[in-house]
Symmetry: D2
Subunit: 352 residues, 4 copies
């Protein structure tokens, strides 16, 4: 039997922290040893999360974040704090030999100039940017196994990159023509108290925001897609806010390269994802829906050719909190710890 | 004071019938005289719609559809029956001199071949196709005033055409590059008993359907946009199902013509809609949301240029039942009856 | 034609302020002249409420609350500020001859001791408590017409009192046995930024809170019911939070007095509400639902006898923002201004 | 290692069938061998449930129900067919030595007269009523272990009985005074295509139905509560329909016996549920909410004394599909098969 591995969560009061705890409650190897929060320190987990009462995890005391103590007790830490706040904690823990999965944006962008431009922050640890591995497990699996610091992908980028990777890798589409229309559930906006995300403002509504390349996930998407395309490409990324809790559905449009047909497209996607059971290429005529992936690591892909306009339409659906954040973080931690990617993550969707 | 005008609703058990009644409850001139339903005949309106009990309209008996009786008692009829079933009723009533607003698709498509191809039905009254006026009030106002038969626009087309008309009319975009990503509330799927639209199948979910030109509203959109463009154009139309009751938000993408900037775009839209108070061109930086138009005739338009990819992004939001169906039908009836377009339709949105 | 009456709204950024504006947009006599907000002063209404853009009201500048200016320009003011903050403003305006409809709790409780006990605040204007009329229009219509200061009822109390009044007035139930199980939509929790009312915390959920007489609306309910019963009674009031925007449905249970049957019950309710068209006593076998009253002044009442346990079950449904707050405030203002109670309030429910 | 146990699901197209499959996807011992449906026979599971594609279970062919084949291949069968249809299948399978967990109501009511009265059906297998064990695992654990036929409790009764059992068993309340106000999510209404449960009819709404003892779960509740009370008792049971997918929250009211205080109440509940980890007695001041039990076997209990009216208020929250139907069925199957009650059922709630 595998020995347990002690881990920490830094920043436990947000939705990604909550989701990490949900997933760790049934993990076969990881043992949660330290959970931190500046604002909730002194309480037990179940005091802020009554849904955990009765679970062993619920009894855990929440403490102030202290890298020394984390390093003493844990061999891996998840950082679930806002961007800008994660980088220093990551640097200290990494320096002390603790493996780090950073759920913030601080190590996702390889270029410090790009980071600074989009996040309006100087990056204090530019050297670490070279160390960090972008943690999309289907694509960077081998690198992640060797990594000490993983930048966990953003939620929108997870849904988009998984949907576009095969089309670009197999040169099936015109990379200059990509338009991405994404729709995200409200947990993507975080757990801060804001009027805009009150129930009565969101429910029975729907809205566009940050259209036309204004969203910070744009450079992250472009960085990865440019690697697949083999040259710098620019996409049009356009997010919307859905009245659902969990899930991102991205509808992606691109001009087909001449002569490409649906069979070739399906073969390319099948080949890329053959070994990756979380990505499901739906049967022809079937399209993704958020419910079918809820609470899981699944990424459903639907592929349609609009014959009338020679476009490939790629639709992806993920759970933004699980696949698009904490579940993916856990998959990264699994790989970094020599475990199966899917340890603790074989989850059936909660339908209905 | 204006005399009352007697009207009929043929087919009252669906959502468009319900919405017509809501709007007629406060109309200054139209008096509902006949309501029909094959399945609910014999009941009073408030028996099938308890929300109408206590309203004068609630007492009305529902009768079997009988064109002779309608023609005797009414000078205008709304047809809220499925496509295929509307055409014969329209023909008979029109022949008897009753003005007709048909909410079905039967007279929207000018070409009988196109109708037959998309609706898989022979059109039995092709001559009437030339008589029918497409009832988008901002665009065809003058023709509607003279019309005896109005084809009320589809819900998706209403949201799309209002959003794209100025850009095409002023030649601001490449008409071949148009991609339309539409998201509709569940009332758009009708009031038939189907598993797919049960609460537990739709709520907290989201899905794409009929992508890539498979939806029947495609030829209707293309017919109108082609008129504005002055040549046959083909668009990529892609609908999605939202977990909301009312509303369609369409996000539309097109390549800008060289040299066009946001100021020109805003001027074109402002010019076209200056006299049409229901269309609101939102301030720069403000984007449409469904709540802001709920229950009304409003169409909110947001205009964004994606500078990084030289695209114009047009976002429109309407209430699919009011603006996209029954409210528009009422506006058409107003015009056909010599009333102000907005009679009975000055509605403030129900927010929150 | 009636001259316009100039009015003010003090505190416009909450849901009751929003709803007042929605209703005033179509009022035949009242003209909104002053809107205030400490935090939004300097903006126009449509800047904080984009759904109002294009409406004449949307152009109004929001100003700092200044009783002198209000008194100069307006003959009636709605106070939509939190309890504790309303009383001083009410006192000053009332002193200057401005009619006041206070939507806060500050003048609802006739006993200053009770107010102090439940609201943990000294009442600074105890003399005014005698002046204030409790503004439930079906019950206190005549007094309201003469009033200069109306305490607008709370949302839960509106739903409860309308449901229990006839049963107590006609002595049909054991007043000691009343149990009230109320369920309210999320707008009832206000528009403050709180984690508890974020979309992702409320949607697809349901919870009880403040059970067993812990809610501040308890003394207000008991004050009014005790008047009808002719002696001090105590009820068990138990609120719950629904994942809907608008609406309160209260299910009320009480032991029937010996020998009382459903016919007597229905006669009593019919007699009391015969002249009050907003209260709809549903047909036997029909039960209230929130949708049927949405956006309106309607109060639907369902009456059932549980023969097996000799209890009367009374169910009421209202829109908490309209009937339970701002619409009722407007009805009070109508009465205070010599208008029909229903001026501007003949609203058809937005169904679906 | 435990050998696998072959099982069948009879009736797989409803929500309880779906939920059984979700739970069986991760069960350590049970292997789904036969799934049946009259209407979907001939398809594979993932054709009707795309969320199962990629899961081993998804490949299973759906067959016509055939008791002989089930008996050949399986040692236990879940019946997820409507009441009236289950009894014959149960009788045949039971006769062939197959263990049966019946999710319908057919064997819940011990008295055939009572069954006939409430379900308007003659019971064709009255002898089997004596064999059947009522499958509420916390209460009948020992009997279930020996049973060959288990009547799986109804969803409302599960929530109610768990909430009232200790209060009755310890004689803390007046059993004649019980009022139950229950609120259920829409999956409780089943997966049949009905207008009443369409998304647009349920969402943003709330309604009461079958009040005052009209609901069929009433005799089931009374049968069990009467056993605990030691005499026949009658309750007032009143259901409501919530706009959520999953969950039942029951608020239960009863007069306290003289002298009983909250400490005694909490002790009684703690004592009864000490060994039953799925029932969580929440800390004083904390009240149940549906989200905290979603997707799990948990039953959260909140206990409040209304000092002002001497009543005990008991609130329970369960997931109606998991705890209130399929999860409980699986727990019963576990016990009947000599496994831990919780095998495959240690589920963390999906929050948010």
């Amino acid at each position: 039997m595998q020995n347990t591995i002690q881990i920490a969560i830094v920043g436990v009061t947000g939705y990604t922290g909550m989701e990490l705890i949900r997933l760790l409650a049934n993990h076969p190897v990881f043992e949660l040893r330290v959970v931190t929060s500046r604002q909730a320190a002194g309480k037990r987990l179940q005091e802020i999360y009554p849904h955990l009462s009765g679970f062993k995890l619920g009894e855990m005391p929440i403490v102030q974040p202290d890298p020394d103590k984390i390093a003493e007790q844990c061999s891996l830490a998840f950082l679930a704090v806002p961007h800008g706040m994660a980088m220093a904690m990551a640097a200290v823990l990494y320096g002390k030999g603790v493996k780090v999965v950073d759920l913030s944006a601080d190590f996702r962008i390889r270029s410090r100039e790009t980071y600074q431009k989009w996040y309006a922050l100087e990056h204090s640890y530019p050297d670490l940017l070279d160390e960090a591995v972008y943690g999309l497990v289907e694509i960077y699996q081998e690198k992640i196994k060797e990594a000490g610091l993983v930048a966990n992908p953003g939620c929108y980028p997870s849904s988009i990159i998984l949907g576009l990777y095969p089309a670009l890798a197999f040169d099936l589409i015109d990379a200059e023509s990509i338009i991405i229309d994404s729709k995200s559930g409200a947990t993507g906006a975080g757990r801060g108290a804001k009027i805009d995300t009150l129930f009565s403002e969101v429910q029975d509504g729907f809205r566009a925001y940050a259209l036309g390349g204004a969203h910070r996930h744009t450079p992250e998407v472009e960085q990865e897609l440019s690697r697949f395309a083999g040259r710098q490409i620019t996409v049009s990324f356009n997010p919307h806010l859905l009245p659902v809790n969990r899930g991102i559905l991205s509808t992606m449009y691109a001009k087909l390269k001449p002569g490409v047909d649906l069979q070739q497209v399906r073969q390319a996607y099948t080949k890329i994802y053959l070994q990756h059971e979380w990505v499901r290429i739906l049967d022809q005529g079937v399209l993704p829906q958020l419910k079918n992936v809820r609470g899981t690591m699944l990424c459903d892909l639907g592929l349609v050719i609009d014959e009338r306009t020679d476009r490939l339409i790629m639709v992806s659906a993920i759970d933004n909190l699980c696949r698009g954040a904490s579940g993916q973080a856990l998959a990264n931690a699994n790989l970094m710890s020599g475990l199966d990617t899917s340890a603790g993550l074989n989850l059936a969707p909660l339908v209905p």
